[in-house]
Amino acid sequence: MSAPQGRPPRPPAGPPTWPVGLGLAATVGGSIGFAVAYIRDAGNAWLGGCLALALLGLGLALAFWGRDLAGDEVISGPYPVPPDDASGQTALANQLEDHASALTRRGFLFKALIGAVVVFALSQVVLLGSLGPWPGRSLFSTGWKKGRRLVTVEGEPVTREALATGGFLVAFPEGGEDDANSQVVLLHFVNGDFTPQPGRESWSPEDFVAYSRICTHAGCPVAQYEDVAQVLVCPCHQSTFDVLHGAAPVSGPAGRPLPQLPLAIDADGYLIAQSDFTVSVGPGFWDAT
């Protein structure tokens, strides 16, 4: 018989508490650091780093604590009883139908009520008209007119001397230097490189050619000019247009060529438009020309 003498055995050690303590220490340190970083204007990394430390510390402390508790206690219980029981469902349906019959038994009046509510709801659709102007014909025209000069984004008129062969620039109609939908890319081809499309022989005086700069795919400015391949590339979706052949799409998702602006050169050597574009510019829509 050897009952242990002295102290009773120690209870089994619980889960370690040091992660919780460490987390709480990090919270205090991070919080103080955050306030100091803010006051000293120490920059985003210090400010955010300290705040992150404080949050992570407290989070770790709670998560560890919660994990240890969860190990202690696993319970089970019933799910809500599934309403599989058909008689219960029938009873509920009957009860609701009883309540509803106060309305539905007056058949005509009930239908009139529904009708009135629908008419009311539909009438509110007119408010959509306040949202904006109807598109009208605005998608079919731009700022270009017969005789209007080409100017740079700074408003500088473009002369035949302004652009050497092989060069290109972005041009707007004079007076519309911020007119997004009128922007064109003006190219000056080396003599003999460019062959006009049939019917457009008079649109490219002295091998100056202007194309709409709005992509016919999704409307981004066709901003990249690759002069070796002689293509314009849209930086958004990489639609590629062959500038030597009427800016027809050769790669990427665009389906239609960039519209060409009929150009002329006036007596003073300024580049001018012969007219507006002959088709609608930009992305397609159902009645686009």
């Binding site: 780093g49 705040l51 809500p80 911020d178 799409p249 829509f285």
Partner: protein, 455 residues
Amino acid sequence: MNSDHELKKGLGRQFGVGRSPIGRLARWLDTNLGGSGLLRAELRHIFPDNWAFFLGEIALFCFIILVATGVFLALFFSASQAPVIYQGSYQPLAGVEVSDAYNSVLQLSLDVRAGLLIRQVHHWAALVFVAAVFIHLLRMFLTAAYRRPRRINWLVGLLLLLLTAFNGLMGYSLPDDLLSGIGLRISYALTESIPLLGPTMASLLFGGEFPTSGIIARIYPVHIFLLPAAIAGLLGLHLGLLWLQRHTQFPGQGRSDRTMVGSPMVPAYALRSGGYFLLCAGVLTGFGAFLQINPVWLYGPYRPWDATTAAQPDWYMGWLEGAVRMFPGWDIQIGGLLIPAVFWPAVVLPGLIFTPLFVVPWADWLATRDDAFHNVLALPGQHPARTALAAGFVTFLSVLLVAGGNDVFAVAWGVSQPLLLRVLQVLVIVLPPLVALLTFVLVRGRARRWASSVR
């Protein structure tokens, strides 16, 4: 004296019992609010445990963080496109005419103390939010959690995915920088492509022909009020249904469709969830501190004649961007009417993707003839068809996502962009069925081996 006695009794009722402040508070609440019985039962609300169950919680945490950081940002943001001269501390833009909105974002990022941190945490939280919702839904699908009685809640979850992604798009459109302006330009074009209604819809939504001067002011209330309110409402419904129906559980000892096993809400589960919320906030704050996101001052203000290469939307719009880039330029002319090619990837494809997702619970029922009540989840490793469908779907989205950055990947991988485009156009059709088939065969083999080993 009698009234004095009554008063003492009342005070006793309010504060008398309970040894600790918490006990006294509970007593006070019950006296003034009632419902102690209900609350006592709900404190023992059982939560089954699994790491996968925290995906939805991460989404909830992100929403809370988004609201908190968003309120801070709203104090400084100006939803106006009126021109102002930039006079802040970012020297490369000194003296440049920019919009008021862009100016205010630069101010709050660079000249309001802690502003950059809050803005970057907001942006990161949005990216993680949509990711968490998506992966959470994927988990739901893989484990068939959408079966009876959770069919309606699957729909609520899908709506939440749509709303969160759309609100993200609205959010990154607000700063009026070059990238966001280009994004809006594309959105206008995609709206325009809808047959018959497109131009009118685009004009009404944007307030005229693009570029319009009031679009930021329109997006702002949608981003900070309308959609967050809708998300909060649906989240309430989502969690309310979860609470009433209880959480699903993975199969295990003592677990059945009628009996659940897990830890009680108080104290263990609540403590741990609180901890996870703080961890989530901490990680996002760490991102905001050390990982730059959307540096709009580098992009510059939006001007309709400027563009930039390597322009990508946030990741959750990347699949749509990829589809728009990849779909060939098949403009269709029918009797003088045009159906622009972008209509198919931008409007029809999202419909084709989301409509099947909305009918998943009923399609599953038709396919399996299983209309029973389920509280125990299915295991992806034992259901080859479902797992294969998910794998194919994720593959499809992944190819689209890669295509959304095909210009960047072409440079990184040293291949020509048109060639990469062609390869991706083939892969998007070939790869998803291939991956689905492979998954099906692998999972079925594994499931059979498992079944025979159990026997």
